[in-house]
């Protein structure tokens, strides 16, 4: 533990301890407690985590910027004049006004509208308006050191066109952070240059961690979502499995279109398997194999708040932003490839009826977090239980009926939070 985090721990130790050694049970308090929420912003989002900022394709030219968030802190990511990328806390070092208040644009420098302090694209303070006052009166004192008032920088890394930032010097390289096996899964989707097809935002009536868990929860996919189960996108008896990083923080859950498996255990009588249900126009479910395999559904998480999604030909990155202890916002950046032809674009747009705020699949993830949230305050010391697939964080080849990845998420949370 570093000196900084020790000091932080001493200053802010909350009235909370994790009840036991494993992460098979999670106390409801973590979904509602404002102190834990504030602590997450410091220890987790400003801690040793790589946080998704944007896609390189969104800031192609020098001076292009995008305003985003790390945790709930506003951050701006910008393409520098030399083609590199920098990111800074989107907050003037003077009075704290947001510098870039439009979601995207092109700038030569950061120029605060409030008092005209000017920073270069690396965040170094360049000029203070009326620094020497006017007519010999006013201005800063003799002890004002301009070099001490830069914007707060993030370290930036890119991988396959994805841009990540971290506030911490302790965060390992992105390669070490994600691990080789899961890096290959990023390679699989980002096989060539992407283009943005559009954005969605879904406001979720729940703590951000309930949605983070939902993405890691490969157990629910074929049980909650009729569209997954009935139309064979994700069915418990289809091939696939889950992969986990060695530390459990990140995961991939995937399903392959395999020959029908009549194993009765995969056709357990569950609500979501509606054999009589069909679509009049099944083109919504069309799938063109384009990534060199038969995977119908691939959901990959990069701890803490990024999801890389492939559902049929619907590709997206989902970025989760905490909006207070009991609310979060899910920003979808929906993707195609730069060389898509017209027909493939149509397939993607139709497939996107499955995902997003009105998605036949994703809408349900929008409401289930709220179903948990509203019971979380009943007894904050009570616990959820996740017994599927044991107690640990073992990967699972051939089955997604496991909650190992969710337990891995909580392991990552505890390690970042020192709890």
């Amino acid at each position: 533990m570093t000196e900084v985090s020790r000091a932080d721990r001493a200053l802010r130790a909350p009235a909370f301890t994790w009840p036991r050694d494993d992460t098979m049970r999670v106390p409801y308090q973590v979904y509602t407690d404002p102190e834990l929420y504030a602590l997450e912003q410091q220890r987790l989002f400003r801690g040793p985590t790589w946080n998704f900022l944007c896609l390189e394709a969104e800031i192609p030219n020098s001076g292009d910027y995008k305003a985003t968030h790390v945790g709930d802190a506003p951050v701006v990511v910008v393409r520098k004049m030399d083609g590199g990328i920098s990111a800074v806390l989107n907050r003037c070092a003077h009075k704290g006004a947001v510098l870039c208040y439009k979601p995207r644009g092109n700038i030569q420098e950061f120029n605060c509208v409030y008092h005209n302090w000017v920073y270069n694209l690396e965040g170094k303070l360049q000029a203070v308006a009326f620094r020497r006052g006017v007519g010999g009166k006013g201005g800063v004192g003799a002890d004002f050191d301009q070099s001490q008032h830069n914007l707060e920088p993030l370290r930036v890394t890119t991988y396959r066109g994805l841009v990540f930032g971290t506030f911490s010097n302790l965060t390992p390289s992105f390669r070490d952070y994600l691990g080789d096996e899961l890096l290959k899964c990023v390679d699989r989707v980002f096989i060539k240059s992407v283009k943005v097809l559009g954005y969605h935002s879904q406001v979720l009536p729940n703590n951000w961690k309930l949605y983070a868990e939902n993405n890691k929860d490969s157990y629910h996919a074929s049980l909650l979502h009729v569209f997954h189960n009935t139309f064979g996108v994700v069915r418990a008896n289809m091939g696939g499995g889950i992969k986990l990083s060695a530390n459990g923080w990140h995961h991939l859950s995937y399903t392959e279109r395999t020959p029908p498996n009549d194993d009765a255990t995969g056709r357990e009588k569950v609500r979501s398997l509606k054999e009589e249900y069909s679509l009049e126009d099944p083109s919504v479910m069309e799938h063109r194999l384009e990534l060199g395999d038969r995977i119908t559904n691939s959901i990959q998480t990069v701890f803490p708040t990024l999801v890389i999604q492939q559902i049929l030909n619907a590709l997206a990155v989902r970025h989760l932003i905490p909006r207070g202890p009991e609310r979060s916002e899910l920003l979808w950046t929906v993707l195609g490839f730069a060389d898509d032809d017209e027909d493939l674009l149509k397939v993607r747009i139709r497939n996107n009826n499955l995902v997003g705020p009105a998605g036949f699949i994703s809408m349900e993830d929008g409401c289930v977090g709220g179903f948990v949230q509203r019971t979380a305050k009943v007894d904050p010391s009570a616990e959820t239980i996740m017994p599927m697939g044991g107690r640990g964080i073992e990967p699972s080849e051939g089955s997604r009926v496991t909650e190992a990845a969710v337990r891995g998420f909580w392991k990552g949370w505890r390690e970042c939070m020192w709890l």
Binding site: G198, Y199, V203, N352
Partner: protein
């Protein structure tokens, strides 16, 4: 564009207003099975955000083309999807007639939807503009295209009932 005489334009406007009053009331009264019948067989129905619309990005929140996909939206919400029960109250603004000729008309109108959840919680769920194209027959109107542009990119929880 064929310029219709003023009296004919007024007749078209009156027919459109009556038709869209019926359209929104069918939704708000949960007569959703009637909803596809307001469209031509090959109609296009899209809900998209203003951000995507103005940036020329092709992504929609909902994309349907043809009666099959419209009916699938309704059968899904009736039998497949999970969500909390809620109802809409549509308030629609005056129709600007952008184009009007003997067989078709295009309009732009504002709308607002107040959503009431089953526990009584009410909120302004959506507002924006609708760009509608009508196929005008001698005795019936149908929508051949309806593009809903949402002012906000944020959708609270989920969108399942059409607008």
């Amino acid at each position: 564009m064929t310029i219709l005489p003023v009296t004919d334009q007024l007749l078209v406007r009156t027919r459109i207003e009556a038709f869209m009053a019926d359209y929104v009331h069918a939704i708000d009264a949960d007569r959703l099975e009637e909803w596809p019948n307001y469209f031509t067989e090959d109609a296009v129905y899209q809900v998209r955000t203003r951000e995507n619309h103005e940036c020329g990005l092709p992504l929609n929140v909902m994309s349907c083309s043809g009666h099959g996909m419209l009916r699938d939206r309704i059968s899904a919400l009736r039998t497949a999807n999970i969500y909390e029960p809620h109802v809409y109250c549509h308030l629609i603004g005056p129709f600007r007639i952008l184009d009007c000729n003997p067989g078709s008309a295009q309009t732009e109108s504002n709308f607002q939807v107040i959503r009431t959840m089953v526990d009584g919680a009410m909120s302004i769920f959506a507002c924006g503009r609708a760009f509608d194209t009508f196929a005008i027959g001698s005795d019936a109107l149908k929508l051949s295209e309806r593009i809903i542009v949402l002012d906000s990119r944020q959708i609270d929880t989920l969108l399942v009932i059409p607008l």
